[in-house]
Every structure is written in structure tokens, then in C-alpha cells.
């Protein structure tokens, strides 16, 4: 690249070109695997295509069908439920972190045990919970039977399936938020805490006015990670219910997979349209986060 006719050009612009050269491999890969596919998906969403045969232009038909599809609304609703309930991981993680932030013998062991669910694979989490819920031999139906007299198979009931999966998802997510808060708690300024103590601050008051404000960076990361985790929930659903019973636990990402890529789905255009909608929803959150991050950077 440096072999331009005028050696002077490189010398003159070295400083401004160097960063781009270093960025080039990363940018190229990012273009090929992220940016271009986004536009390709949007493009495909305007076609009627089974993934094999010829594409036919469908205009906005895929989107029109989407608006008329009950499964779409079901998935969208479940996505919202996921978003709201998954947020519980943030306060729960904070609670566990505060609880573990003490010096007792063996605290390291307890900390690692609490962190354990995040280390194991989501597939394993899904399996453990589906056995926990399984009618006939699972623990939960047994407990229900003792308490109420009849079994409730959480994953077989359209009303409960999504909540059952979210509960399984919260287990590792709480562990993740906990770790974020634990490192945050390590960085708390002891002088401020000391000063607050002299002013007689205690308990909830201390937590709310002294500790939590100092944990803001950790909270920000925890919220971002949890929102993204909720929106891309897929593996647990695929392991625990396969989207069922009768599609009641689908979310948009799983719906897209089913329509476009699964055993019974060949509607590439329709799947792409779902992906575009999901992307638009994610874009809202991503924009919010980026705006916030930029404004923080400016004030800092």
C-alpha cells in the first residue's frame, strides 16, 4: 500500500491513515458479517422466497401478513414479558451481591457457588429446569401436588410456559448481575461511607443515597446486558418448549427461526421481515444506550 508513486503522500498523511489501516481488518470483517447482512435481510424481506427457488418480488406483502398473524402478536407479547420480567435480574443481582459482600470464612466459596449458574451452558440450564418442571417426575409438580392436590406441568400450559422459561433464564442472569455488582462494590469509596456513617446514615438510606449512586456504572452495564439477553432469548425456548405448547412461548427470534430456517419453515422472506422488526426494536434500545454513553463521555 505504501508503494504509491509519490513517496511523499504516505509521509504527509501517515498520521491520519495509520488508524484506518489498523482498523481495516476489523472493519472489513464487521462489514461482511454484520453490516451487509443487515441490508441483505431487509432486501430479502421484500421478496417471497423459499430459500431454494427463484425470488419473486412481494413488496410489503410480508409485513402485511405479519400484521395479520396471531403468532406474531403472541411473539411480540412474549418479548415484552421477557423484557419486563428479565429486569428482575438487576435488583436481585444487587441483593445477592450486597448479601455476599461481607468477610466471613469461606465467602469465596459461596461467591463462586452463586456465580456457578452463569458458567454452565444455557442448554444445561434449560434441561435442568425442564426436568424440574416435568410432569410425573419433576420436583415442582410434586410440590404442587402436595400443596394443592393436583399437578401443574408448567411447560405444558400455554398460560405458564413463558414464565417458566423466564424463571430458568433469570437463574444465570442474576448470577451475572451479581458479579457486576460485586466488582462495583469493591470500588466503593470507603471515605464517603465513613462520612455518611458520621452523619448517622444507616440501612436503606445509606444504600439508596450513598451506595447505589456509586454503583451507577455497574447498573448501566447490568441493564444493557439484561435487555440484550431478554431480546435474544432463544436457546432456552428451543430446549425447553420448542416454542410450544402450540406456539405460546415463542419470541420474535424463535418465530423468525421457525419461519425461515427450521424443519417446517422455508419462508425466507417472511422470516427476514420478522428479523427486520426485531432489529427495529433492538435499534431503539441500542440508540438509547449509545446516546447515554456519548453524553456521559462528554461530561466526563
Amino acid at each position: 500500500m505504501a508503494a504509491t508513486p509519490q513517496a511523499g503522500f504516505w509521509k504527509r498523511n501517515q498520521r491520519s491513515l495509520a488508524p484506518w489501516l489498523f482498523l481495516a481488518p476489523g472493519l472489513l470483517v464487521f462489514m461482511i458479517y454484520v453490516i451487509i447482512p443487515i441490508f441483505q435481510s431487509i432486501w430479502i424481506s421484500f421478496y417471497d422466497w423459499d430459500g431454494l427457488g427463484p425470488k419473486t418480488w412481494a413488496g410489503l406483502d410480508n409485513y402485511r401478513n405479519l400484521l395479520d398473524d396471531d403468532s406474531f402478536y403472541m411473539s411480540l407479547k412474549n418479548n415484552l414479558i421477557w423484557l419486563v420480567l428479565y429486569m428482575l435480574a438487576v435488583p436481585a443481582g444487587l441483593g445477592v451481591a450486597l448479601f455476599l459482600n461481607q468477610t466471613v470464612a469461606g465467602i469465596r466459596l459461596y461467591k463462586s457457588l452463586f456465580f456457578f449458574p452463569f458458567v454452565i451452558s444455557q442448554v444445561v440450564v434449560g434441561l435442568i429446569f425442564s426436568w424440574f418442571y416435568a410432569p410425573g417426575f419433576g420436583l415442582l409438580p410434586h410440590i404442587f401436588k402436595i400443596l394443592t392436590g393436583h399437578e401443574i406441568a408448567v411447560l405444558a400450559e400455554a398460560k405458564y410456559a413463558t414464565y417458566g422459561i423466564i424463571a430458568a433464564g433469570l437463574w444465570p442472569q442474576i448470577a451475572y448481575c451479581m458479579i457486576l455488582y460485586l466488582t462495583g462494590l469493591n470500588n466503593i469509596n470507603p471515605e464517603q461511607v465513613e462520612a455518611a456513617r458520621m452523619d448517622n446514615a444507616k440501612g436503606i438510606y445509606m444504600l439508596w443515597h450513598i451506595i447505589i449512586p456509586q454503583l451507577r456504572p455497574a447498573t448501566f452495564i447490568a441493564v444493557v446486558v439484561t435487555v440484550i439477553g431478554a431480546l435474544r432469548s432463544f436457546d432456552l425456548i428451543s430446549i425447553m418448549t420448542v416454542g410450544g405448547p402450540f406456539g405460546s412461548s415463542r419470541v420474535l427470534s424463535y418465530f423468525m427461526y421457525e419461519q425461515a430456517l427450521s424443519e417446517y419453515g422455508t419462508a425466507m422472506g417472511y422470516g427476514a421481515a420478522i428479523a427486520v422488526v426485531l432489529f427495529a426494536i433492538m435499534l431503539v434500545f441500542i440508540t438509547l444506550f449509545i446516546v447515554r454513553m456519548l453524553s456521559q463521555e462528554r461530561t466526563a
Partner: protein
Amino acid sequence: MRLLKALTGFTLGFGLLASTALAGDLVINSDQSDPAPKKAMEELIAGFEKANPDIKVKWNNFDHEGYKAAIRNFLTADPPDVAAWYAGNRMAPYVKAGLFADVTDVWKANGLDDSLKSAAASMTMDGKKWGVPYTYYQWGVYYNKDVYKKAGITAEPKTWDEFIANCEKIKAAGADCLTTGTKALWPGAGIFDYLDMRTNGYEFHMDLTAGKVPWTDPKVKAVFDQWAKVVPYMTANAAAIDWQDAAALLSQGKAANYVMGNFAVDTFKKGGLTNDTLGFMLFPEITKGLPRAEEAPTDTFHMTAGAKHKDEAKKFLAYVASADAQTAMNKTLGQLPVNNKAQVGDDPFIQAGFKELSSAYALAQFFDRDAPADMAKAGMEGFQHFMSNPADLPAILDSLEKTRQKVYK
């Protein structure tokens, strides 16, 4: 530096792999991931190589479920010479997309129109043959004889009303009359297929799966009315369990009947049932005098349109279609050969299946092979929904009709 070496080693290795595949082997992709099918396939390949010493087979075996998604990719990106798949409407997308090759000449040259007659119709599209069937198996009602005894039932029910009447006795004996596990959706479709073929007959069922009849038709409603009679006696929470879990219920005597394919016999027996305690019967009659159609999904091999070794592939298809190869393969598989000159194994369930299918009026492939994929998926979800809440039927049928209008336009 080490990384660079590793990388070059890797690419070199890859190149070598690719070049060995090009050296004149017959490449076969299939999905015989379970022990018995895997063994049958190994024997088949060994037999073929012995009969054709100049051809070497390179066999890529896929996981059974993963294969269904993988086939779309490899057929377009890197087609093998021969691929395993299914008969009927299930092969239609690949035939229409020009990914499977026309093998009518193989049928003609080997007299297959005669020897594979029972499956000829399901291999034909646009008047041409698109593959070779090598095995099929029967569906029917498997039952636990001990539970029948406990409930005081002496004879197999011949009609649906008798079947339902028995359910009351079986319930009193503390077992589910009919079990299923629909987590993977398809087991529920077996029940629907039979109820429809017994209520409305084979032709109507084919019209329905081909999208020619609206799902809101009163005849469809009649099928679900029959189904509703048995729902109270079915395993609760079937939606959360796999078919193997339901098979365990039958083996343990917690359930009496199971509408299943013959491949499940192995699982039933592992659960403790024997030839003496496991029973098999035809699905009972509903509408009197209807010619009896049965469910018999057929597994097939196809030559791909992008095959690099067409002659070898045709030789392989001809070999798979031969009576000897099918006798040997199905003996290991524990299934029925399609070739009518092949010998049927002496296992009592295979014998029963042979009797059932050879005297049947017509054979259906199975709901998810007769109906196109999107319709099949929606239908099977509807069946699952119906079993867990029969009161939602009108909404289910409306939604299925909506799907039908979208799928078959």
C-alpha cells in the same frame, strides 16, 4: 509463527480432504444416526462396494433431526451424489427447485415400476420418478395387554365407539386410555390422520393435505368431534413430554393405547413389554364401510441434480431398489421392504404390519409429509392446542384456514 504453521496445516489438510472426495468416490449424505439404521446403512454400503469393486463410497452420516435443516444447505452449496430423504410432498420443494435428478430411467431399466409398485405413486411428480424408496413402516395402535386385562377388556375394539367405551373401563382401572407426547408436535398428527381417514376416507384426507378443502369444512369439524370423545381419556400434559416419555407410560402400564409407528416397538420393549404383553391393532373403524387406508411413511434415496458421479449414483439406486438389498437392510432396520419380491422379517410386529399394509386400500405418508411444511407445522400446533383445550376448536380451525390460504396460493 506457530499460528501460521497451524493455519497452513489446516488449509492443507482441508485441501487434501477435498481432493480425496474428488477422486472418484460416490458421496452419500444421509441421516441414519440411530444404532439400527446406522448398522443397516453400513451393511448396505459394504454390500454395494462388494458388488461394485471399482466404486468407493464416501458416506456422510448426519444427526437425524439436524439433517432436515442441513439438506437445504448442502443441496445448494455442495451437493453429494446421493441424498436420503422422504417420499410424497416432502420431496416436492427439492424436485421443484431442480435439486433432485429425474431417475425414471433407473426405474425403467430395473423393472421398478413393478417391484416397487406400492410406493410408485408417492415417488412420481410431473410423470417422472425422483428417487428410490427402500423402506417403510406401519402405523397403528399399540397397546399394553396387561392394562387391557386389568380393565377387564377381552377383545380388541373394532369400532371407535367400542374403543371409547373401553376407555371408561381403562380409566376406572387407573390408566390413561390413549397416550401421546407432542413436545415435538408430530406424534399428535398420527391421531389426526387416522381419525380423518376413518371418518372421511383417504381421498378427502389427501385433498385436505393438498389444500383443496378448507379447514372450516364441516367434514373437518366432524373429525375433531370424534377426537373430542377421547380427549378426556388422554394423558394430561402431553404437550410437555416427548414421544419416548409417553412410550414409557405405556410400558409401565400407566397408559393403555398409543397411536404410533412401528419404530417405537424397540422403545416399548426396552421399557419392559414383550411380544406377549405388547399388542398391535388396526385403528378402529369410524364410518362404516369406508375402504381402509393406512399410514406408512416411506424413506427414500435420491440422486441430486448436481451429482458429480451420475453413473455410480444410478448404480447405487438400482442396488438399493433390489430385492436382496432391501431384504437385508430391512432385517436390520426392523421395518418393511418396499420391493415386493423382498422377504419380510419374521418379527410378529413386522408380520402384522405387512398384513396391514398389503391389504390396505391406500397408503398415506404422514401429515408432515403429505402437507407442505408450513401447513404441517401450523396443523400440528393446532392438534396440540386442541388436545389441551378442545373448547378452542373454532379459533383453531379459523387460524388453520388462514394458514391454508397463505400456503397454497
